[in-house]
Amino acid sequence: MSAAAVGPRAGFGRAVAWVLLLAGGLAMILPLVFMFSTSLKDASEVYDLRLLPAHPTLDNYVTVLSDGRFLRWFANSMGVAVVVTLSNVFFDSLVGYTLAKFEFRGRYIVFLAILSTLMIPTEMLVIPWYVMARNFGWLDTYWGIMFPGMMTAFGTFLMKQFFETVPNDFLEAARVDGLNEFAIFWRIALPLVTPALSALAIFTFLSNWTAFIWPLIVTTSKELYTLPVGLSSFAVEQQIQWELIMTGAALATLPTLLVFLVLQRYIVRGVVLAGLKG
């Protein structure tokens, strides 16, 4: 690719770079490796930092999973993340589409208003949201966890960018065929931006799956905790029994990593799309 890539010295340099890159990459996953290996260790072996457990055991997983808490938290996180993602995919594209493809007075103001909410940090809103949730009885409910994220300016902006690339002729043709506007959006426009939709879905799902501060504030009973909040309280409760904490951490991390291994290409592409266009 570059000029220097000719001759033996350059080849040597490249090999060194390759080795360093690989070493760095392995170092990157070292925390994950140690987490998994410790989760397979017996309490007596925890302080022995060997990478491979001498007597691997699933006992920790049995202990952690036995009372059903983790499964519950897992289901809560999954449910919340899926519903919020669906809502974002639907509403953000609907708004993005409207702002990209309709001509009407006030369009620019609506767009600016929505865009301006990007400037408001979530952390500024947690206190008013908490007050709101308290007044409406949303504290400690699934809706309470979900309501702040049902739509995002980021997603709207991303979808607007993509809908602008959809040729108007397509939509006009559908209009001539007598389709109503919602049907045009739903059946014609949306399928044309599926890469963007999956990017938005991946990004929204990830950020809700790992969300911490708001679920921490709004949930009070253990049954309603999401996985990160549950794990955090679990870790404190375990009074520093590292093998159990690592098992909990592994359980919180494993699902996304497995999904990544299967869908690697799509996820990386989606993240890049969302990052560059959003």
Binding site: A4, F34, R107, I217, P228, T256, G275, L276
Partner: protein
């Protein structure tokens, strides 16, 4: 029955009577109705309320009383706030350049690698998919003194003295920052990779014909053309570091914010003030400061984009 039928006809007639343009306008506002309600109630109204609460002495237990700017005055005289402010700025000014430099170096070299390219990229990307609250505990464990901490175990094996890491007023902030950089690195690498890919090869070919050195190509072609990518990543990661919370909360749960508040960021102070001390007015004033800080970063971004 007849009334309804009449009404139906009338409405149908009304709708049919509209021009295509008008119908479009009605559709547009129809699509926007629920979202506008959402943004008004869940974004704008709470923003106003945050400003309002910041001018009260509300403590959740009693009725709020108006105190003007007293909370902001108290903030200016609060040594903990200045410590926290300093920490937050440190997270930003250490975290952003370090992570960007690392990510760019990795991406720049990885871009030229063909062999096992996807595998190596995946290694760097994996931490981005982890849950910060979970990984904070793994890192907390690494930082322990011997006999349990990995880092200190390695240090003493090679005869170096143990380091206090989280139990130090100077080392704890970088120690908390490390997992945040670690987790965000993969995202930055793939964005840089995409940015590098987007540079047309003709530029490089032209430069090579002119016999320009690698370093010059990097300085004169690659970096200037990556400018939008760099600006995006600077802003994205700056905002992330300004809002750091999950790592600190979980790594210092016994003494929240580290020894002598050495690691406490603004968001943790807000959380504690609001939800441990129930000093809602004071906490809201702190959120206003956070808002202003983010606004400043965003304005700088706009400025940079316009200069282009």
């Amino acid at each position: 029955m007849t009334d309804q039928a009449l009404d139906h006809v009338a409405r149908g007639g009304f709708w049919r009577g509209l021009s295509l343009r008008r119908k479009q306008v009605v559709w547009a506002w129809g699509f926007l109705a629920v979202p506008i309600l959402f943004y008004a109630l869940i974004r704008f109204y709470p923003t106003g309320e945050a400003f309002y609460i910041s001018t009260t002495n509300w403590n959740l237990l009693t009725k709020p009383g108006f105190v003007g700017l007293a909370n902001f005055k108290r903030l200016l005289g609060d040594p903990v706030f200045w410590q926290v402010f300093r920490n937050t700025v440190l997270y930003l000014v250490i975290g952003t350049p370090v992570s960007l430099l690392l990510a760019f170096t990795i991406a720049y070299h990885l871009d030229r690698v063909r062999f096992m390219h996807g595998f190596i990229r995946a290694l760097y990307f994996l931490p981005f998919l982890t849950t910060a609250a979970a990984m904070a505990w793994v890192w907390r464990w690494f930082y322990q003194p011997v006999p349990i901490g990995l880092f200190n175990q390695v240090l003493s094996t090679f005869g170096f003295p143990q380091q206090p890491f989280l139990r130090s007023t100077t080392q704890s902030l970088p120690s908390v920052l490390a997992p945040a950089i670690w987790a965000g690195l993969g995202f930055q690498v793939v964005i840089f990779l995409a940015g590098l890919r987007a540079i047309p090869t003709t530029y490089y070919e032209a430069a090579r014909i002119d016999g320009v050195s690698d370093g010059t190509i990097l300085r004169r072609i690659t970096i200037p053309l990556l400018r939008p990518t760099i600006i995006f990543l600077v802003v994205f990661s700056s905002i992330g570091f300004l809002r750091i919370f999950d790592q600190v909360y979980n790594m210092t749960s016994g003494d929240p914010g580290g020894p002598l508040n050495a690691t406490k960021p603004l968001v943790l102070m807000i959380y504690q003030t609001a939800f441990s001390s129930f000093d809602m007015g004071y906490a809201a004033a702190q959120t206003v400061v956070l808002f202003l800080a983010l606004l400043a970063v965003s304005l700088v971004q706009l400025r940079l984009l316009r200069d282009r």
